[in-house]
């Protein structure tokens, strides 16, 4: 078997809040090969961004628990201290396109400077050199180099998103985490960005962790799909398997709620609301909304069942 580039094992990230401990990432494992994309899909608030933050170790101050192992190129980067992590891993090996980043570009700094910033911060590069590299990065994402001197307000939404992607690319990382990289864009612009991401992936042999709530969109990049529910990954499957027939009841329902353009189907939705991550339901976290729930589901927490060739499902139906 091919060696994994990134191997996340039993990752936990809990937040301390006044109302209680939020179990935003609760024992998550996933692996990523070079050039491969894992899509992380799930409802809002299920912990997708938290997972990303846990991997790139950009944690808020109120962390209650941060545990697990993250093996990058055979080395457990969880063991690095913050300084080393910042120097050797963040942005150098793994970078990230943050959710909504295009709308939080600094309005008073030129686009080129913002793209170059990671180089200046993480590699202590001189401004001139960094700006040169920023020009190259902009060209890579399909923006003319002259745009280096533009301010964010002079850019369209699609261009801003490209700038943000250039920021993630500029340090030549192996892995880019994309957190909802197109959620504020039009479908045509979105399709253009997805095209760009596909091209970059092939040209640079990038691995993506692609976070989205849009299942249809996830199929644009995903080699593997991880379905998150209430802080857990409840299903992990190959794209071929997943988009044809997801196995976990939640994934199945989620798929049924996706309106399709080209085919007619009966739309379905998941009744009820997503659970609290402070007091998640006992047993299977999906049981209050699951049409197939039976006795055991309410009492025992299902463990990941291996259905073969890297297909895991956390559901008692498959045990």
């Amino acid at each position: 078997m091919e060696q994994s580039l990134l191997d996340v094992r039993n990752l936990h990230l809990y937040y301390a809040t006044r109302k209680g401990v939020v179990k935003a990432v609760d024992d998550i494992s996933l692996s990523l090969k070079r050039g491969e994309t894992v899509a992380v899909v799930g409802e809002s608030g299920c912990g997708k961004t938290s997972t990303a933050r846990a991997i790139i170790r950009l944690l808020p101050r109120n962390v209650h628990l941060y545990r697990g192992s993250i093996i990058l190129d055979g080395k457990n980067i969880m063991e690095l201290d913050d300084e080393r992590f910042r120097k050797d891993v963040r942005w150098k090996k793994i970078s990230m396109v943050f959710q909504g980043a295009m709308n939080s570009l600094n309005p008073i700094l030129k686009a080129g400077y913002q793209v170059a910033e990671p180089l200046m911060i993480h590699e202590n590069m001189s401004k001139v050199e960094a700006l040169k590299r920023a020009g190259e990065a902009l060209r890579m994402v399909g923006i003319h180099e002259s745009f280096i001197d533009r301010y964010p307000f002079e850019l369209s939404g699609g261009m801003k998103q490209r700038v943000v992607i250039a920021m993630a690319l500029i340090t030549r990382p192996q892995i880019i985490i994309l957190d909802e990289p197109t959620s504020a864009l039009d479908v045509i612009t979105q399709a253009n960005i997805m095209n760009l991401l596909k091209k970059l992936k092939n040209e640079l042999e990038l691995s993506y962790i692609f976070i989205t709530h849009d299942i249809a969109l996830s199929s644009e990049l995903a080699d593997k799909v991880a379905v998150m529910y209430a802080g857990e990954i409840v299903e992990m499957a190959d794209a071929e398997t997943f988009y044809v027939k997801p196995s976990h009841p939640y994934a199945e329902k989620l798929m049924a709620s996706v309106p399709t353009l080209r085919t007619d189907k009966q739309l379905d939705f998941i009744p009820g609301a997503p659970p609290s991550l402070i007091y998640p339901p006992p047993g299977c976290r999906f049981h209050p909304r699951c049409p197939y729930a039976f006795d055991k589901c309410m009492k025992e927490r299902p463990t990941a069942v291996d259905l073969g060739s890297g297909h895991y499902v956390k559901c008692w139906l498959y045990a």
Binding site: A16, T17, R18, R61, N62
Partner: protein, 482 residues
């Protein structure tokens, strides 16, 4: 999301506030300050306070001048020094310990012989600050003749002077009585010569009267107080059948009350206590009125836009560059500056202050909120939108600023008083600092005089600042650490 304060309700905000350490501290201090103000206003009603504060020296005649607060005594006590407190002896109070009075007619004449003996124990490590005797006499044709003598522990007796009260009420300021000083000088010199010493720095009346009679007497810098029982003896000859004399001896100490006294013997407790409700209400009224007026002006400006907006904005800019203090000083030149005038001036000089800019920006932002548009879509009038939909939304973000601005106005009032522009009648902290400054408190070592009002100012400022900061975090969750 925008303002959260409103959504939490009062109880919710309080709960959140107490969850922040600074917020909780601020609330505790503020509750204490408010309770103290209420107590003050009830215990010393305004009229009484003003009367006391404005009262001439008469009101305070029995207080020492510039006495330190009692807490200084406790502090010094720990360091092994017992500071003197005021001692009073009064013949009209027959039950008092240490007072003996006899008045006997001399048979065959219409003369009477008076004998008064005040005795007291003096156990302090410092000298008193002043000694006075107050007489109240009854006589018809001629005034009584009194001879006043001092007896030190151990029995040394000094004839101080003969005194004839000129009036029904008369007083003898022993400390500044020239004759007494002369008598004591020669007394001290005599003692020193006997010890083979020469006088160096002459002693004041109090020091001479209470001195340990050894070499240390030679200088006022080395002299030490003698502990033991002292006596003041008044012998007199009275004329007429109904004649009588009562005397009151006051040995002024060096400490007095919770807060000490000022140069006019006034009990500073009154100023410290009354300064509080004045500062609180001044700060709150100023901040509240200014914030509220700015809020209304800013809302009108932001919501209606157009020329009204332009006018208000230009006015605001004009106000922002106008020098504030010179204006107040000018106003002070024309008007008697009582606190209301100061308040009004501060309010007027601040209505178009910088707060308008930020509130207007907020209004402009809220105006575009979908819920305002929804309200227009279902037919709400502009008036309803402003009053019911916009104002409640800007209140929460404005309130921390309101609270946070209170100390500014409290300090401003104090600063004006310090500059001599304050209300001269009210016992305010600023006025006390101004007095202390004028009377050289720091130079003379009367630190309490400056420190106490400053402490109260800072405490008040902290209470509001802490609450303001915490509220800001609650209302603007972006500032929240979590």
């Amino acid at each position: 999301m925008g303002a959260e304060g409103m959504e939490l309700g009062f109880k919710g905000v309080l709960k959140e506030l107490l969850a922040y350490k600074s917020g909780a501290l601020g609330v505790v201090i503020l509750v204490f300050l408010v309770a103290l103000s209420i107590y003050t206003v009830v215990a010393i009603p305004y009229d009484k306070a003003i009367k006391l504060w404005r009262g001439e020296e008469e009101v305070w005649i029995e207080n020492p001048r510039n006495a330190q607060p009692i807490w200084v005594k406790y502090w010094e006590y720990l360091r092994g020094r017992n500071l003197p407190e005021t001692i009073k002896r009064d013949t009209s109070d027959s039950k008092q310990y240490g007072v003996y009075k006899s008045l006997r007619a001399i048979p065959g004449t219409n003369l009477k012989r008076l004998y008064i003996e005040f005795s007291f124990k003096y156990e302090y490590d410092d000298f008193p600050s002043e000694i006075n005797i107050f007489f109240s006499s009854k006589f018809n044709e001629s005034a009584p003749i009194l001879r006043i003598a001092w007896e030190k522990p151990g029995g040394n007796k000094i004839e101080l002077l003969d005194f004839i009260p000129r009036d029904k009420y008369d007083r003898l300021y022993l400390s500044i009585e020239h004759d007494v000083l002369k008598v004591l000088r020669s007394y001290v010199e005599e003692k020193l010569y006997a010890l083979g010493k020469n006088p160096e720095v002459p002693l004041s009346v109090e020091k001479a009267l209470f001195a340990v009679e050894d070499e240390s007497m030679s200088s006022s810098l080395t002299v030490k107080p003698l502990k033991g029982t002292y006596k003041l003896i008044i012998e007199g000859l009275l004329f007429g059948k109904d004649s009588d004399v009562d005397a009151r001896l006051i040995i002024y100490g060096k400490v007095y009350g919770m807060c000490g006294t000022d140069h006019l013997r006034r009990d500073l407790t009154i100023a410290m206590l009354w300064g509080l409700p004045i500062a609180l209400s001044f700060g709150l009224i100023a901040s509240l009125t200014i914030t509220f007026l700015q809020l209304i002006i800013a809302t009108i400006s932001g919501y209606y836009g157009g020329w009204i907006d332009a006018l208000i904005q230009r006015l605001t800019e004009l106000y922002m560059i106008l020098p504030f203090l010179p204006f107040l000083i000018m106003i002070a030149a024309f008007y008697k500056l009582d606190i209301w005038v100061i308040l009004a001036a501060i309010i007027i000089l601040n209505i178009f202050g910088g707060g308008i800019k930020s509130t207007r920006a907020l209004v402009m932002q809220i105006k575009e909120y979908p819920y305002i548009e929804a309200a227009r879509a279902y037919g709400a009038s502009s008036k309803r939108i402003v009053l019911l939909y916009i104002i409640p939304k800007i209140l929460p973000p404005v309130i921390p600023g309101l609270i946070g601005a209170v100390p500014g106005y409290v300090f401003l009032e104090a600063a004006l008083s310090l500059l001599g522009l304050g209300d001269p009648f009210l016992p305010t902290w600023g006025k006390v600092i101004n007095d202390s400054y004028r009377w050289g408190a720091l130079y003379k070592g009367y630190y309490y005089w400056v420190l106490q009002p400053s402490f109260m100012l800072i405490l008040t400022a902290f209470a509001f600042a802490f609450i303001g900061f915490a509220l800001d975090k609650i209302v603007n969750p972006k500032l929240r650490e979590i």
